[in-house]
Structure formats: structure tokens, C-alpha cells
Symmetry: C2
Subunit: 287 residues, 2 copies
């Protein structure tokens, strides 16, 4: 096995599985994306998502809203989608403008259509190990581990970052009593003291802090497995923009036993997990 854990073979497998299921069960899954404003990166992502969806048999529709949309109008649109039986999944593309209260939106979305798993009911069910949507990035990390047959049982897993969308849910998932769980989990963040001492003790290091190339060779132990969740836009020496992870890849490559690249690593799988949640939504709504 190559030491570089690429996302593509993992996402391909997921897409094939979804496509096959949709065809076999004659499903008509529909995803609605709400896209506010005109952020170019977000626009690029939404278009890619529409294309991917079409390829595997999911109908993706994007509702574009002006960046001045009011909270009331936003909730009205969301309410309609919540109640529209033809809509299985709803995804709200971030960032949202300042006048939109993100917490209120996350609480308002129909939990059965919440393919991003930002609704507290879904996060609570995840914590309790009940059947629910799982946030896409943590789910992608687990999918990577599973695909590359990296066991977590009894391993020291160190997570850098305590966000609601990655660090915290991931910690809870890695504690489950299942094949991608049973890990001893340590969560570090900006307040952590002696960080190096902790990261050097990791069997698996998962970086999700949003700081470009933060993890360097001195911080890791020989043979560590590195999962890099970060995607940071930087300006290169040649004045072009590029994306790098939270890990200094070149610096850590030799010392690690396995490492995910950025781009081409976890991010690739995240989108696949999102679309898998759309099919899951169809199942939830049948119950």
C-alpha cells in the first residue's frame, strides 16, 4: 500500500455504491442547495456538487438568494423546502451573510432533510449512537480509515481542533464501540499546553484547525498516521493562490507511515458523504 492516502479511490467507491442503490431501488433523490450571495469559491463548489449529483442519479437544484436576503425570507424559503415532500435533502452553502442567524437556521431545518447534520437533534443522536445523519467531514475521516484498513481500536488518536463540525463530532465517533471507534481520544486546541508532547504520542494524528501547514516534523513521532482535514487558501511565492492543509506535508511525509494529501485527501470524500446522506434522507423519510 502506498503511504499516501488518496481520497479519490474512497469517494469513487462511495459514488459507485450510491449510484447502484439509486438504480436498484428506483429512487428519485432530490437535493436542494441554498446559495446566498456570489462567493466564487462557493459558486465553484455548488456547480461541482450539481454535476456530481447528476452523474450518480441525484437531482440537485440550487436556489440562489441575493446577499441582502432577510432572515424572515430565508426562513420562509426553508420552511417551504422543509415541508415539500419532493425534497429529500437540504444543504445550505456557507458562508452566510451577517444578517442571517446561522444557529437559528441550523435549528430550523427539518432534521430528516439535514444532510449536513448541523441540526442539534442529529448531533445528539450521533452522540447517543442512534441512527442519524453524521456530519460529512468526520464521516469522511472514518471512511478513509476504513477504506485503508487503519484500525483505531486502542490507538491513541489526537485531534487538533474542537470545532462543532469536525473536532467534537469526530471525537465522539472515535469513541464508539465499532470498527472505526474504540480509540483513546485526545482533543487539543489553541489553549493546549505542551502540544508537541501530546502530538508526539499519537498513533493517529487528525488535524482540523484551519492553520496552514501548522503540523511540522518535530511535532510527530516516527510512523504516525496523519489525517489532514484542513483546507487553507494561501498565496504562493509566485503570487498565485494554492490550497494547503493543516499539516506541512513535505516536512512530515518521510516521518509518517501514512498521510493524506491536500487537496485530494479527506475533502474529496466529504462531498461523497454529503451525497450519501441525500440517499439516507430518502430512507429516513420513508420510515
Amino acid at each position: 500500500m502506498d503511504k499516501i492516502l488518496k481520497g479519490l479511490p474512497v469517494s469513487r467507491k462511495i459514488y459507485a455504491r450510491i449510484k447502484e442503490q439509486i438504480a436498484r431501488e428506483k429512487l428519485n433523490p432530490k437535493l436542494v442547495i441554498i446559495f446566498v450571495g456570489n462567493d466564487p469559491a462557493a459558486d465553484y463548489y455548488v456547480k461541482m456538487l450539481e454535476k456530481k449529483s447528476k452523474k450518480i442519479g441525484i437531482l440537485a437544484e440550487t436556489i440562489k438568494l441575493g446577499s441582502a436576503v432577510t432572515q424572515t425570507d430565508f426562513l420562509q424559503i426553508l420552511s417551504k423546502l422543509n415541508n415539500d415532500e419532493a425534497v429529500n435533502g437540504i444543504m445550505i452553502q456557507k458562508p452566510l451573510p451577517a444578517q442571517i442567524d446561522e444557529t437559528m437556521i441550523n435549528n430550523f431545518i427539518n432534521p430528516q432533510k439535514d444532510v449536513d447534520a448541523f441540526h442539534p437533534l442529529n448531533l445528539g443522536k450521533m452522540l447517543l449512537n442512534e441512527d442519524a445523519f453524521i456530519p460529512c467531514t468526520p464521516a469522511a475521516v472514518l471512511e478513509m480509515l476504513k477504506f485503508y484498513e487503519i484500525t483505531t481500536n486502542g490507538k491513541n488518536v489526537v485531534i487538533l481542533g474542537r470545532s462543532n463540525v469536525v473536532g467534537k463530532p469526530l471525537a465522539n465517533l472515535l469513541l464508539r464501540k465499532d470498527e472505526t471507534g474504540n480509540a483513546t481520544v485526545t482533543i487539543c486546541h489553541s489553549r493546549t499546553k505542551n502540544l508537541k508532547k501530546i502530538t508526539q504520542n499519537a498513533d493517529i494524528l487528525i488535524a482540523a484547525i484551519g492553520r496552514p501547514e501548522f503540523v511540522s516534523q518535530e511535532m510527530i513521532n516516527e510512523g504516525v498516521i496523519i489525517i489532514d482535514v484542513g483546507v487553507n487558501q494561501i498565496v504562493t511565492d509566485k503570487d498565485t493562490t494554492a490550497y494547503v492543509g493543516d499539516v506541512n506535508y513535505d516536512d512530515c511525509l518521510n516521518k509518517s507511515s501514512f498521510i493524506t494529501p491536500v487537496p485530494g485527501g479527506v475533502g474529496t470524500v466529504t462531498t461523497a458523504k454529503l451525497l450519501q446522506n441525500v440517499v439516507k434522507a430518502v430512507e429516513f423519510q420513508k420510515m
Copy 2:
């Protein structure tokens, strides 16, 4: 300050605060306890809870159900309480008989009356740091830390146990960006390897595994702060029953800088946090 962190001064302060609030705001909080069967320990606890409630101005009513109660009947009773405006808090005394599906019950209780915070919506909101009920034992641990001015900021907190009611919620709470948060949190459990190496590195060790006197002197570092959440019934040499924690108290007393006793430690505060949640329920239902 004494090195023994007793629960009584902490719970007294909470009870005084609740009593004062109830009187000042002229509240009539009502707690309904559902008690199935006739487990003597549970019966003892329920009676104590009724007495405590009365003392501070909470009306506590217990509904006793036979141990053969069906799931349907249970849900019907719960549904009535869910919709009864005079009922602010509902507490379901454990253990429940085998025919009752605990997960279904926890999902069915009105989240606004869920004073034990077992409903996934409350746990999800806790994870997201939204205003919600917090499970009573983790809340009691934080209350102990606060009362005794033990800071968690940047400290290595090691939690033994990954249960849904203590370990997992507590880990999430200790990661919050507040005065009882900002800790570096490690969660250990039965699958953890080199446990001693991890516990020896703890600034604060929280034991919640339900194994009598599991933590011994060799496992801890000089000066560690020990919070013992365990309550285990044992048979003594003299053939009487006694309650001990997850920590070998006598063995660890000298080496630790602070330690909570069992009984008389965290458990005392847990009940106070439950009753505080009843008052919180009144506030939630006013919104």
C-alpha cells in the same frame, strides 16, 4: 482549603440559589417522577428527592408504575405529562424493566421538560453550546470545579469512561470556551492501552467507569486533582454493604492535591443540578 472536595457546601449553595429564585419570582415549579417497580435503592432516592424538592419550593409528584407496565401504557402516561402545562420537569427513575425501550422513551420525552437531559436534542444543543439542559452528573462535576476554584484552562483532563451520560457529555463541556472549559481532554476506556501512562500525565483525573476502587496510587501523578464520579455498591469484610467510588480513596489521598470523597462528593451535587434543571424548565416553557 481542605484537600477533600466535599459536595455538601456546593449543593447547599445551589439549593439556596434555587430556593431564593423560586420565592423571588413566585414560581410554582413541578417535577413529576416516573418510578417503575420497587427497587429499594431507587425508592430511597425518589423519597429523598421528594423531600429535597419540598424543602426548596418544588412540588414533586411520583407516579408509581408496576414492573409489568407495557411500553404503550408508559408512552401514554409520558405523553400526558409532556402536554400537561402544570408539569415543568419529568424525570424517569432508572432502572427500567426490560420491556421498556429506553432509547424510545428518551426520544419521546418533551425536550423542554427533559430535566435529566437524555433527549438527543438537548445533548446536541449541549455540544453546540446552545442554551439547553445539561446532564446532571457532568454539570455537577463542573459545579464542583467552579466552587473550589479549580481552573481547567489548558489543563490535561483525563476522563475514564465514555458513557453517554457522563464521559462523552463531560468531554464536550470541558472543551467549551468558558471558565470550566478550555481543557485538553483525553477520554480513556476499557480498550485504552498504556492507561497508566495517560493517567499519570493528568492534571485533573475524572473517573466515571463504575469499577470499584479502580484507580490506585501507581496510576496517578503527585499533585493530581481527582474527581470521582463512581458510586459502586460493595460488600465489606464485615459482610455489610457500602458505597465506594472508582478511585481507591485511601490509596490516592496523600498523592493527590485534591480529591472528592464517595459518598459525599459529586453525587450530592448531582441531585441539586437536577432540581436546578426543574427551575430552568420553567424558564424554557415561558419562552
